[in-house]
Symmetry: C2
Subunit: 158 residues, 2 copies
DNA sequence: CATAACGTTCACGTTAACGGCAAGGTTCTG
DNA sequence: CAGAACCTTGCCGTTAACGTGAACGTTATG
């Protein structure tokens, strides 16, 4: 379809450098099933496209920023694919009861994810609030120092 | 004789059950220095008070909800104690330059924590938004089914 | 005060998430 | 077409975060 679509496939060290992982890690993720076999060259070099890069960046983000284990990440990605399959199933039938069942199933999974994420977010927001409270406190003290106002020795009046 | 303020000290299985950890894990956390030696009984049973429970719950929350490693948690708790010591140092001097230096140092550490937490929060919010978008989508479909409205087959008139 | 129930300190085992070779093919480059 | 620079698949090593006894002391209870 798209004429430009052959963007050029990258080899493993290029992708590793690009997304900030090691080649070992990329292979390991493939071994775990987090990554599709991508594509192989004539010899058997792994070849990656832009979608693979996105997926790796996504995985890395979940791991580093959100603190998910690779098992949890695998679950999320699997759910993603189950979603795709469900869409196909959904379009493959016109039976209202079956369609509703498919949708409700999907909704259940989504809600479970939401609860888990919300708990994580709540905890982090709590810590952020605490940290900011302290920061405000410290900044207040610093301002006091700048203006020569000393709360510990308030009798500096004249 | 001892006032009522001595709330009663708990033994390790009681605390473990209470906060949802195993005894091994509690001992391990002490070994890592995440927990003070608490208190020991006549024999050498570990005895814990409410503060210990809070600390354990806090650790557990950071581990499970926020996805921090025990090393990171140790760092956070250490910073906490460094903060305490700094407050003592701060109160121990009246030299404005020294006070400012202490405050600026503390502010630096706080800001580093804040950046790290904010990145984590941002990533999780992103995922939550995505999850909710999907949820809305699914709920829309379900409503369509309930009302007999079928977007794929609009001419289902009877 | 016997004894069950609980605790203590080693110390070795396990799983996740990679690191680091070795032995050998593959691709590129002059 | 030869050598450098990559890549492949094993396979063993490592660190974090505990699990699981073993061998033995401590506390509560009928």
């Amino acid at each position: 379809m798209t004429a430009e679509s052959t963007a050029r496939l990258l080899r493993i060290t290029e992708v590793a450098d690009e997304v900030g992982l090691t080649t070992r890690t990329v292979r390991y993720y493939e071994e775990l099933g987090l990554l599709k076999p991508a594509a192989r060259s004539e010899g058997s070099y792994r070849l990656f496209d832009e979608d693979d890069l996105d997926r790796l960046r996504f995985i890395r983000g979940l791991r580093d920023d959100a603190g998910f284990s690779l098992a949890e990440i695998g679950q999320l990605l699997e759910d993603e694919e189950a979603r795709e399959r469900n869409r196909a199933r959904f379009r493959g039938t016109t039976d209202v009861r079956e369609r509703r069942s498919i949708l409700e199933d999907a909704l259940d999974r989504i809600e479970r994810q939401e609860v888990s994420l919300r708990e994580k977010a709540r905890r982090i927001d709590q810590m952020l609030a605490e940290v900011e409270r302290r920061r405000g406190h410290l900044e207040g003290h610093l301002r006091d120092l700048e203006t020569g106002h000393d709360p510990d020795h308030p009798a500096a009046t004249r």
